[in-house]
Symmetry: C2
Subunit: 503 residues, 2 copies
């Protein structure tokens, strides 16, 4: 195929893909926020048709030729197009290397496995799910052997979700975390229930909580003209366009901080998307570069900024103003401690900043052994429970609250979990770099968080997917990723909060 024709066709496909992504994005947002319950059938029909159309858009011989032509003429491409081609090639690598029957068979397995997972969890019966998990693991090993026969199969899948991430990096990361954080959690647990949190459960009307959300958005300097808030069962962020990002939250009348920290977390995701460079608009690179980098930013705003003493200082007076009765007997310090309370728990989704990485470490170790064929599906639950005891010090009473708690494996996502833990660790390294350039706490206290955002925009946000995920930390800090920052951050913070230095 002629180079110019290939380039033109490539750009056209991106334009079309972006339009379909936009439409499917709005449909998803609508389904989670506004659609009535029985809308599911109409949506399923439309979604099926669009899935078919978008599949055909890129999975066809002509487009493969387009990509081959462009890939073999990389020197003629500008940096943006070259990166777009690289990502397009990567996203099609599986479909081009796996026999279509195997691929179709697997898609069918996934449909059933998700339902099997729901049933298994509901009935607390792992055996319903086990045969599907077995097939999913087998498929993952098979795909890796076909597409990247020279790679470690788990490395192949890690790289799919997080380009260039490998067991080498993660082993080093989790080894350090295990050595330092497991003992730290043990010490915190031994201190017992010394932080008061009773007031967090007091009734706070939703109308007033909405006003708190408005205030938080304002503190984060997020323009409501570019970013809407809606309500959904589970909070999420969706980017439709540089000037159209949506975040959602869920209000609980008896859990004020649930919405509060959801908004800050999703607001962090939103700030990343809202600050993508103008040169990337309408390209395939106009979005956050990966889940771990995205998560590093949401957790940065949620935990490192949002749970800092400085932020609580600017936030708490507003809480007192909106909820004078509920908070009349609560001091700023008590509130600060309450939002930072750490406690080992069974559920990853509810885990606090200190214990979160432990939940991921359990999953990482199991996934690695699955991919290396070192553990059978039947052995997984017992091993899960053993690791929870070892890392978090807690007994898992049932598979429902144990190995069946997450949707990911049943949905065919093996290799995705580690990104969750990396995000927090990246953030801890970044804040060290920021503090060298900016008076971090003073900016937060003086309603100037936008200057911190500008720092991150300059180094990460504006580059969108042009920046490889592994390069984000280097771009921000000038150094390779080093988990020691994360260890130090947690140790220092929780030593102070739990007075461990005074023991």
């Amino acid at each position: 195929m002629e180079f110019n024709k290939a380039l033109e066709r490539f750009k056209e496909i991106i334009k079309l893909s972006n339009a379909y992504t936009y439409a499917m994005g709005v449909i998803t947002f609508d389904s989670e926020t506004a659609a009535p319950k029985n809308s599911v059938m109409g949506r399923a029909k439309a979604s099926e048709i669009f899935s078919g159309i978008t599949y055909k858009l890129t999975v066809n011989e002509e487009y493969f030729e387009v990509l081959d032509t462009l890939s073999s003429n990389k020197d003629k491409l500008d940096a943006i197009t070259a990166r777009e081609v690289e990502l397009a090639v990567q996203s099609l690598s599986q479909i081009r290397h796996i026999p279509i029957e195997e691929y179709t068979e697997y898609r069918k397995t996934l449909t059933y496995s998700q339902n099997a997972w729901v049933q298994a969890k509901r009935n607390d019966d792992y055996s319903i799910f086990a045969p599907y998990l077995e097939k999913i693991i087998a498929f993952h090993r098979r795909v890796a052997s076909l597409v990247a026969p020279d790679m470690d199969p788990y490395d192949y899948w890690l790289d799919q979700y997080e380009q260039e991430l490998s067991t080498k990096t993660l082993d080093a990361f989790f080894d350090k975390v295990r050595a330092s954080i497991v003992p730290l959690i043990k010490r915190v647990s031994e201190r017992g229930d010394i932080i008061r949190t009773d007031f967090l459960e007091r009734h706070c009307p939703i109308e007033l909580q909405r006003r708190l959300s408005d205030y938080v958005m304002q503190l984060m300097h997020i323009s409501r003209d570019d970013c809407a808030i809606a309500e959904s069962e589970h909070p999420f962020t969706l980017e439709l366009d540089k000037h159209d990002v949506r975040i959602t939250t869920h209000y609980h009348e008896e859990r004020l901080i649930s919405n509060l920290y959801s908004v800050i977390h999703e607001g962090g995701h939103a700030l990343y998307e809202l600050n993508i460079g103008d040169d990337l608009i309408d390209t395939a690179l106009a979005g956050g570069t990966s889940m771990s980098v995205h998560e590093s930013q949401s957790r940065f705003y949620e935990n490192i900024i949002g749970r800092s003493r400085a932020f609580v200082e600017i936030l708490f007076p507003k809480i007192k103003e909106l909820f004078p009765e509920q908070y009349k007997d609560v001091s700023l310090d008590e509130f600060y401690l309450a939002v930072n309370k750490a406690q080992p728990s069974l559920k990853r989704m509810n885990a606090d900043e200190l214990t979160y990485a432990m939940h991921i470490m359990v999953r990482y170790e199991l996934e690695k052994r699955m991919m290396h064929g070192e553990i059978t599906v039947d052995e997984l639950p017992a091993e899960w429970n053993r690791l929870y005891k070892e890392y978090l010090g807690i007994e898992v009473p049932s598979n429902r609250e144990g190995i069946l708690q997450d949707v990911h494996w049943g949905g065919g996502m093996i290799g995705y979990f580690p990104s969750y833990a990396l995000g927090s660790a990246y953030g801890a390294q970044m804040v060290e770099a920021i503090k060298k350039d900016l008076d971090f706490d003073e900016l937060i206290k003086n309603d100037r968080i936008n200057e911190i955002t500008a720092w991150l925009t300059e180094r990460i946000y504006r580059f969108g997917r042009l920046l490889k995920p592994g390069d984000a930390v280097r771009a921000a800090t000038g150094k390779d990723f080093d988990p020691q920052y994360f260890i130090d951050y947690l140790t220092e913070k929780y030593t102070a909060i739990y007075g461990l230095d005074k023991e």
Copy 2:
């Protein structure tokens, strides 16, 4: 083209069209209810791409052949497919008969004319808009002469919006209305300001108004699982699927009945869509058959049911319960009279049940003369003002509040207005038929409106677009459309409300 191939292709195109209509529907709903202000750019890009795709879907030689093949084999088609083909042929008739350059040129004119209308209205300067209106009228006359050279040009355009509607029907309708309603309005106006409405402007918190909306939805027996309410600048109804209809409303703290009657009006539109027959799902006929029939239903619920004494009896106690302070000095009768107050006004959009048709009559007379070449663009404003004086007895102080008030002509819609007035007249004829079968007022008082809806479903709703608009009245009443019912309904109602029989 081979018949079976044509049929298969036709069904496929309908399926694709429905999916795009669904996506564009969700995008529209989102833009009016949830999207942030600056979402406009992202949406414009996606919409342009989808417009292009859907245009190409049906405007191409292959599809024309499909339609020709099916049209010449009507005897082989079932009733549903035959009607789908008929509507598809009609919707493409213009594009197939008008030279593409003229069509493109006109589309361009429309883009500018809408903006010109905005400017003209803002500056109260008709001369900004006049040259565009001139072009639009010329194009309408030209299209009619090309597509239907044997028809009256205005009849051609009426038929485009409302199949089989003609000046013959409308002349008869408006002649009767003019003869009876103009004097009735005069008598009502002479009675002066005898109805108390001060309490309608009292402050009613939006949170409580939302609960009133919930109650109204319940009284209308609309399932919230199939129909969501959202908030938008202007209320509208959007149908995405038989089990997914959306209505919107707008709350005004100082205008309780604005939201109240919006919900009932849009709820009427929703009931029509929610009761389309299951046999029409996924066809091109799964929707209300025309604007006038749709409007007949929304106005039926809003005015004939919603403003009836019986409905006010079941509604008012809830208003007293939700707003005890605001309504402590208001009786049921006072509320009933207040929601039925009639008063000639300048704006069509704010007109009451009695005076509404007069606003349409002015537009009808002017449109007819435009299409017949009997009036120049320059003569229109003076003629508009003269007719407002004659029919409504009021002076029009400016073009902004006169001929420039509506968006329709600037948007290229000539022939659309009459449907608005027909809707109310259809409803008046239908209620007479309903009263022969059902104890209308008792059903309303006893929270059994669903039985009235079932009556309408049986005769109109379930047939969707299979029913021709002109046949809706016949299907419901067994008789041809007769405007006398409307005259009688208004005369009886307003004679009682204004005590004209006691004069």
